[in-house]
Structures are given as structure tokens and as C-alpha cells.
Amino acid sequence: MSPITLLGAIDPGLVTFLSPELASRMQFGWTISVHIIFASLSIGLAPFIIYFTWKDVRTNERRYARLRSFWVKVFAAGFVMGTVTGIPMSFQFGTNFPQFAEVAGELIGGPLAFEAKMAFFLEAVFLGVLLYGRDRVKDRTYVISSVLVGFGAWLSGFWILIVNAWMQTPRGYEMVTRNGMEIAKLTDPFAAFFTPRMPWMYVHMMNASVISVALLVAGVSAYIVWKKPDAEAWNTALKLAVVLLIVSAPFQAVHGDAYGRHVADTQPQKFAAMEAHYETGQADLHLLAVPKSPEALTDPRAENLVTVSLPAVGSFLASGGDFDAEVIGLNEYDENPPVALVFWSFRFMVGLGFLFIGLALWGGFLMYRGRLADSTRYLKAMIAASPFGYAALLTGWYVTEIGRQPWVIQGELKTSEAVSSTLTGAEATLTLVAFVVLYVGLMLTALYILKWLVREELRSLGVRESSGGRWHGPIPWVSSDD
């Protein structure tokens, strides 16, 4: 008997637990939120790592060796975090959502196993070489190792998103009874893997990872350049990150617009939740939404808002050009996702996306003028913006995953039916609390490592702790005062 149940036995009023379903959903949501930060760090850093390694080996210039060494260390720390947070993910399908694992096993088991075998191993093995093997392998093998690590990260995303896309737009299966249970039997592997959602999701997520990491690289570079303007390597890195941002940020907006239409076609309920659109008919587009009161922010229906809206533009966007198009409203459904979360997450993501475009254009303008590193204002803006790529990435995923509720497999299996029937509220709450505590510690540790690496880098560049201006911003890892 665990201490908690003992406590409950003494006085049931002492402890109240979350329901197994709610605790499981919160736990999965929380653990995947932390994991995806590290997973997308690997994906987004991959092009940087490959480029720096190749340039280092090719040109033998010190600046590339410096950048390679720094970012490989970040990559490695992120990969360790990604591994230790990824293993709980692959277990939770079984521990918390066994009905889902059993119903969807034929469809999701293959891609998950391919992810482990084709991608995860590739990354883990060749990262060992990249980290410890510089003097042990030939130059060419070393560069190839960096390519394989990067390729592994992108391939990993490919298989995982096949699973997620299938949950959104399931195809290639039929429901049959096996061992007294309705399960999805694979009938067409090609249709099951390349579902309508898959290409949308893959492009959007890979590009989101690139944007997030470009902002991170730009922020770290801006900080170091600000402290030490003649740091050659970091001027290079800043330029590279801004160029990448100029390409990826506008692309994401254009792509996201088309993606939204695809969602309206394939998951109308989710689209309606994104716009808090209740009555079927013409839909407005809410450009800006301000809650009338603090309560309105958490209002599950996301009503009672002051909105700046473009009448009928929601219809225009959903249909791809028809202002009068009928958009299905949430009132048509018996059970809806938590509308407020989806509505606000969507606005947060889109708003940040436009901010990134602004930063990219500003950077492009400065670069054109040859003043990128001279503009203290721009450097500070990039330092402040460095974590927001991840904020946009996470809120984007909240739209996707929370917006799919109440379904775990759209139209086929509800999340409430997928939760373990043997799980108790006490067990689920206990592990939820444990994961929250553990992962908060883990995130703080990751930030600490980044901060430590930046400080070491500054030290090796000859910047004294006390010299120059100090950053008093909100982001802990870029301050040098400790």
C-alpha cells in the first residue's frame, strides 16, 4: 500500500485525486510538451550542425570549429534530454492508454518501431562519434556522421508524424473484432502511412523546428555579439540564423494558411474550435480578440470577447475564396473540445508567427545595410525573442491535439475510451506529480546547461564577467551575473 492510499485510508477527505482520464491526459500532454522541445531542437539544429561540421573540416577556419563545437554540445545535451523524455512517451501508450495501443497497434506500431530502428539508433550511434570521435575517425567519416545524425532527426519526425497524422485523418484500415475487442486492422499500408494530413503536418513541423532553432541560435549569437562585437564566429552564426529565418518564417505563414483550409475540409470541428464558431453558416475571421474580463480568458466557450473581426473572411479562408461558404459550427456536435484552449492557442501561434516575420524582415533590412551586428536594438530584440519559437511550436501542437478532442483517433475512438481501466486515480495522480516535478527540474537544468555553455564561450572569447552592459531581461540563461 502506497503512502498516499494509506493517507486516504485514514481520512478520505485528506486526499482527492484526479480522475485517471484527466490525470493521464495531463501527464501525456505535459510529458510530450517537454519532449517535443528537445525533439525539435534536434531537428532544427541538424542543418546548423551539418553546415558547421562541413565548413570546419573543409576550411579549417577557427570560427567554424568554434561554432561546431558549441552547437554539437547543445545538440548532445538536447539529445540526452530528448532520449530520457522520449522513453516515457513510448511507454505511456501502454501504461495510460492501453486501449488506444491495442485498437491502433497494427497502424501505429510499425511506424513507431521504424522510428526506433531507422532513426533513433542512427542518431544515438553517430552522435557518439560526433561527440567523442573527432580524433578517432577520418575527416570524411566525421562529416558523414554529422549528416547521419541530422538525417536521423528528420527521419524520426517523419515516422512519428505518420502516427500523429493517422490519428487526425485515419485511413487504410477496417474495424474488425479480435479477442473480443474492436480493433483497427491494417488493409492498405500506403494509405495508412501517407494520410491526407501527413504532408501538411511534416512540412509545418519541420519548418517550425527550423524557425524555433533559428531564433535560438540568433538569440545566443546576438547576446555574444552584443558582449563581444568582434567575435567573428558569432557574427557568422547570427547572419546564418537570420537568413534562415527570412526564408522559413514567411514560408510558414503561407503554408499555414493552406494548412488551415485542409483542416477545415478534414476536421471541421477542430476548425470551428479554432475560430470559436458556433452557428453553422458564414464565418468571420477574428483578427484580434481581447477578453472583456479575466474570466473570459478561461471561458470554455471563448465567448464574451471584444474582437476585431473581418466579416465572412473565415468562410473565405476555409473555402479558399468563397465569402459565402458555409462553415460548420460547434453546435452541430454533441461533444466539443475545450474551445477556449484551442481558440487562444491558435491566436498565440499565429501572432507569434507574424512577429517572427517582422523580425526576419527587420534583420534582412539591417543586413542589406551591413549593420546587422551594430544595431543594439535588434540584438536585444533577438535575445528577447529566442524562446518564442518554442512557444509558437507548442501552442500550434495544442491546437492540433486539443482540437482533436474528444477523439484520440478522429471519428473512431474517444480519448475517454482509450484510458486504462485498471488505472486508479491515486496512481495516475502520483505519477503526474512526479513527472511535473522531474521535468520542471529537467527544463531548469537544460536552461542552466545552455547558460553555462554561453558563459564558457564568453570566457574563452576573453569577455570578463563584469565588463560591458548587462542584460536585465526576463530570460535567465542569457544573463551573465551569477
Binding site: E115, A116, Y132, T422
Partner: protein, 331 residues
Amino acid sequence: MTDTLLPVDAYLVESLPEIWFGAVLFALGMYVVLDGFDFGIGMLYATRTDERERETFLAAFGPVWDANEVWVVAFGTMLLAAFPRVYSRLLADNYLLALGFVVALVFRGLGPELREQRDDERWKRYTDYAFISGSVFAPLLLGMLAGRWLFGEATLPVALTGVGLVAVSIVTGAAFLAAKTEPGLASELRAYGIGATVAYLGGVVVLLGTVVLTDGGGAADAVLSLPVAAVVALSVTVGLSGSVLARRGRYRAWLASALALPTLLTVLVAILLYPTIYPPTGLLVREAVVSPLALNLVTVLGFPVLVLVLWYFKFLYGVFSGPIEGEGYEG
């Protein structure tokens, strides 16, 4: 398209479900062997107080543990792909054990990673605690999970399986380190290794004896069989001859025989399971397996990759073969 490439209603070969039963246990075996010696390194690390010796241990652990750990993901996902019901029941029925195990892995993986980040005695002590406790609890809880898989609710056999995995991890960890470090340290390590070998072999005998006497989890009949007796006899032979090799200072040969112990343990698990795959409910391999098309698909796409993965490991261990150099963990 798929009709011509992949048969839909028949397995590629008649025995494909059994082959997959073997493949899933192969992945488990790879994990128990490879990450097993990582756990052993972590536990033996507790016996070292000298900073240089500790760094030598971490240098042996650093380049390989992450890749080794991926085998547990390979095991889990292959189990899900071929036998989804077993994956679901095994993890859902043993909720706290399974999540306890992954939490132990978090501590084990992060400890050494964080240790390097600060030059401070107290910091090092805490990160070392994480590394050591994770290295003890991960094999203990994984072993108990395997025990629950084999013996269901029978408490003593479940606990003994956990302890057995801890002991065998110490054996392989000691042998791995002995083969990679200088003679003075190696001779200290072999004392632990030999002690753990004796404890492990004794533990296996007591475990199987307990199962027979109490019919733990109804597995008594399975234990009293010729294959089980053969595996136990082979384990005793390998364990004892390995200890002799260790005493003679032939550490590479000792390592080879030490790695055979967790391999044989996995074979034992396979024998005790088959023809069921989830003894607590008596579920058979043939009942739990996915439909022919799904299994054919993961075979055609997955098996060539599995071969490739083995080649990666050969490459990785080739690059980092030989004695550990003086350099620290970060290389």
C-alpha cells in the same frame, strides 16, 4: 500494389509470428546485455572514491550508453507492432513499475551529463547520487517487470527476478570495465564481478526453486523442463569458467563469457513464456499477433534495418574499442 508486394491474408512464412516472438526477445536481450553493463558501471561507480577512477568509468560509459538505451525503445515498439495486446497489458497492469523504470532511466542518463557542468563538490555528489541510484533501480524495476510478465502476482519470484538482473548487470559491468582499464583497477573490479556471478547463479537457482515449490504464477511445469535445465547448467558453466578467466587476468575472455549470462537469461525468459506470450492471462503468441499484412510489412521494412543497426553498433564499438584514454568524459 500491396497485393503483389506483400501477401495480405498469409504470413510471408508460416512461422512468422514465432520469428517475431524471437525478434522481440532479441531486442530485449540486446537491451539487457548492452545497457546491463552500463548499469553495472553505474553501480560499481559507487565503490570508487578516487576522482580519476570515477572519470575513467564515465569515459567508458559516455560514448555508448545512449545508443544502448535505444534498445529498450526498440523492444517496446517492436512488441507494440507485433503483439499490441501484450504491450498494452504488460505496461497497464504494471503501471508504477513501468513508469518507475523510465524515471530511473532519466536519473541514470542525466547524472553524468550534468556532472560535467559544474566544478563543485556538492554538485558532483548530487549528480553522482542520480547516476548511481538510477543504475540500481533501473535494472531492479525492469527485472521486476519481467518477473511480473513471467510469474504474475507471485511476489518472491518477482523480487528475485529484479535482484537477479541487478546482479548480472554488475557482472557484465565489471568485466567490461576490467577489459578497458589498467590492471590495478581491473583486479579490484574482478572481485566484485566474481562475487556478483556467484550471487546471480545462486539467485537463479533459488528463483526457479521457489517457482517450483510454490508454483508461482503457475509456472512450475515450465520450469521443470529439459530446456530450462540446459540453460541453467550452461549459465553455471559459463559463470564459473568466466570467474576462472577473470582470476587469470584474461579480461577480454571474461567479458565474452560475462555477456553470455544476460543472453542466457533472455533465452530463459523466452523458454518460460513460449507458447504463451502473456502468462498472466494465458494469451498465446498466435492469439496476440497482428494480422498477416501488418506483420509482413514490419518484417519487410524492419528486418533489413535491424541488420543495419547491428552494423552501426559494430562500427561504434570499433571506434571506441581498446583501453580508455586519460581524457575525461567530454573527450
